[in-house]
Amino acid sequence: MKIIEVKNFSFRYANGDRDSLENVTLDVEEGTFNVLCGKSGCGKSTLLRQLKSDLAPYGSKSGRICYYGQNLTEIDHRQQSQEIGYVLQNPENQIVTDKVWHELAFGLESLGYDTPSIRLRVAEMASYFGIHQWFYKNVSELSGGQKQLLNLAAIMAMHPKLLILDEPTSQLDPIAASDFLETVRKINRDIGTTVILTEHRLQDVIPWADKVYVMDKGSLLTQGTPREIGEFLKKEHHGMFLSMPVPMQIYAEVESDLPCPLTVREGRNWITQVMQKARHDKLEQVCHDREQLLNESYHDEMNVEKHDRAFEKNNEFESTKTDDFTQNSSTDINIDTNEVNSKSNSKLHKTLNTLRSKIPHMSKEFETPAIQVKDVWFRYEKDGRDVVQDLNLEVKQGEFYALVGGNGTGKSTTLSLISRVRAPYRGKILLNGVDIRRYTDTQLYRGYLGVLPQNPQSMFIRKTVREDLYSIIGGAKEKKSPEYTASMKKAEAIEGIVSLTRLEGLLDRHPYDLSGGEQQRLALAKVLLLQPRLLLMDEPTKGLDAEYKQELGEILKKLQEHGITIFMISHDVEFVAEYADRVGLFFQGNVVTSKPAAEFFAGNSFYTTAANRMARHYFPDAVTGKEVAACLKERL
């Protein structure tokens, strides 16, 4: 039975100049797990909102959306509230009441259930979701992950038949996110609720999906099982595969006729198979060439030239070997595979190094480091535990340093210490060799240190992007002021920053109307207008999709080329592996290890990229998806 049928549906916002949804046709089977994916701004959320009349934005629409064969507009508010559950992006904003139990009961209260039946439903939900431990708490005491779980439970308490989730984990840390998605999957599996989900973390959900829908520019690009999608994207070479799980990305890059791998485990097996097949082919090739050669040499003594050419095909072999082979007439081919491996490994290293053509390291050991943290201790309360313990850290000039680590280990606190929002009770922090306490506010925050907050919305003051950019340098008037000391004209500075952060065409929009990635770039632009030499960022990739991440990464690389030091805190291992120079692992208020990115991830077995986990049995040094793909191609 089809729970949702969308037929030739088009939609245009009331003030829009083009259709946000164009002729979308899709069916959703009852009880299935569906993933809707696409780049930011492709119309995913717009489509999802159309599936619930109360949330559908105003605008002109054509086509039909049916729920169980009935036109959605004919279904009343009560039935829609009860049967179509909708979880939004931000865990904070969805919570209405102050107590956990009240939040769970909210929907049932609206539907007018009596107290005993609400009590039963709430008890059921709290037990199913493991909420009973914090049932009586205030919602403000919960963590982000708990809040989103509460939102889900509050909706599930109404026993919906269809559960729609619009990027529910974009504001959560990776562990809370995978817990949440696991719960969604459990609901689908145990209760049979139909799930439609959009998500950035596709590696967690794609393997579970019964059906994947890919949207592009407001229309449906393709639909099918995850494997079909993988094959489709490979065939089309569509940019969308950037946001697909890493195994699928690698699959799309490498020639093979095996089925598409979805998880890291499948990816490992796939690599093994590809490699074995390649080796097998190679052996066969060698065998074949040799037989041919021998045969030919029996028949014709004059084709030495030819056999040379035959062996040239096998670039794993040196030409000197050919003599041995031709002299040895035995048919037993015992090729030293180890030798093949070692040969190709040195080559792989070369490949990896060319790939990692990072900015030539100004390894100026004599230069004073940009950040020096010396034996720093910090705690929030007098008798609290030390959040930062005996921390020592050094970031070189012009380096891109990333700090990774679990939740609540004190990473953000460290950032606030370096940005002087908080002060350590013991130890010293030197910026550019000068104690941080000796800077004046103007010296520190205007011209030396730029801090990009986790939530870009906390920086927006004005009605348009342009005004907002001017506001940070003391208004649009061209006069010297303490806020703006550069010799450049303000307009020029803003123009430069806008083109660097690719905000062109957005200047007259309201900051809140920008998408997540654009807001992030606007906040970055504002910080950069202060011309910092050291940029501190707290999880800049939070809630961004693959494409925005790539853009951000490129901007950061460009900044780094101009000598700006970058210090970043992140949960995003993939991003760090791709762009950072050096990575530190933060644990229990301390940096456990600090190494160049590739070395760092190659050395870890758990805390490393999916690509590395997938390919480490063949290419332990390959860290990013691109590198693994390049290594594989090299071998084939």
Binding site: I95, F106, E109, N138, T442, S458, M459
Partner: protein
């Protein structure tokens, strides 16, 4: 709070405090006040700890009591028993005004004690629940307000840290700049709040807010103990109310002091009841005031007893088993 009375139904909590506070406020009979005072002190010490109550009383309440007690005779000059003539103002300080001042001070003191208990027992959600019974929309509004306050404060902190890092915090710059930066922050907060409220509204709407026939759910249940306790409170209230109605707690301080059951300067109040009724009234009010404390103590005792009981019972049972086994063994040996 793990106190037994706070785990009773909110309506009982509310009723108890309403009665106790009402009686303390309107019946200014010294015996009543004394009973109320002892009960309030005991309960407050039970809930807040002895040290804290003593500290607050000595530092805050007793000085304010003295001030009220002394101010009243300075400004009020009613009464028939002059004590002292103040020449500068040409007024008499009277005994009646002095006594009434002391009584007023005591009322204030006792009320503060009762409110310190009230704050421990009547948490915001109980209050919301009670008013939700009367006006459901109001209970939701209160609940939402209580959600938003910490939410906004947390966001303001985030904004402040963000602004601090671009050198635009209220701690930066001269006073004019400070004001501008503060206004900026408020503006950011308001924009943020309005923008995010849209999502909250969506979330409410998608969960059926606005449908007809909304109910108010609460986690409180009126159980058997609540019924018994409620019955007791009601009976005691009726008895002491009846007694007061018939003048068991009559008090008057102006123009002359008249107290039920007392003979002051050879006068007794005309409106007087039988001593038996007066005693019953006082005792029932006393029991009423001490009921929560008695509940707590009895529960504590029951807990201790049940724990030791379980313990002793099990050892006894096992000892019996061992002894029986030993006897059997001996029997077999024989």
């Amino acid at each position: 709070m793990t106190d037994a009375f706070s785990r009773c139904h909110p309506i009982l909590n509310f009723f108890y405090f309403a009665v106790v506070l009402g009686f303390t406020m309107f019946i200014q009979h010294p015996v009543y006040l004394a009973v109320s005072f002892v009960a309030a002190t005991a309960y407050s010490m039970w809930l807040n700890g002895v040290g804290k109550v003593l500290k607050i009383n000595f530092l805050l309440t007793i000085p304010s009591l003295l001030i009220v007690a002394l101010l009243n005779p300075m400004f009020n000059h009613y009464g028939v028993t002059p004590l002292l003539y103040i020449e500068s103002s040409g007024n008499w300080v009277t005994l009646e005004a002095l006594v009434y001042g002391i009584v007023l001070g005591c009322v204030l003191f006792i009320m503060i004690l009762w409110f310190s208990c009230y704050n421990q027992i009547m948490t915001s959600d109980k209050f919301i629940y009670l008013f939700g019974r009367i006006i459901p929309a109001m209970s939701l509004m209160l609940s939402m307000a209580l959600r938003f306050v910490p939410h906004f404060i947390a966001q303001l902190k985030v904004i402040r840290n963000g602004q601090k890092c671009v050198g635009m915090d209220v701690s930066n710059g001269k006073w004019f700049k400070k004001v501008r930066y503060a206004l900026n922050m408020v503006s950011i907060l308001v924009t943020w709040a309005l923008e995010n409220a849209i999502e909250t509204a969506d979330s409410m709407k998608s969960r059926g807010y606005g449908l007809k026939g909304r109910t108010a759910f609460s986690i409180y249940r009126f159980n058997r103990r609540d019924k018994i306790l409620g019955g007791m409170l009601a009976v005691l209230f009726v008895v002491s109310g009846y007694g007061c109605y018939h003048g068991a707690a009559f008090s008057q301080y102006n123009p002359r002091i008249l107290l039920a059951g007392f003979t002051i300067f050879g006068r007794v109040p005309r409106q007087s009841c039988s001593p038996v009724l007066a005693v019953i009234t006082f005792i029932s009010f006393g029991i009423f005031c001490f009921l929560p404390l008695m509940l707590d103590l009895s529960e504590e005792y029951a807990m201790k007893k049940s724990r030791s009981h379980v313990h002793s019972e099990m050892t006894v049972t096992y000892r019996q088993i061992y002894e029986e086994l030993a006897n059997e063994m001996e029997g077999e040996h024989k």
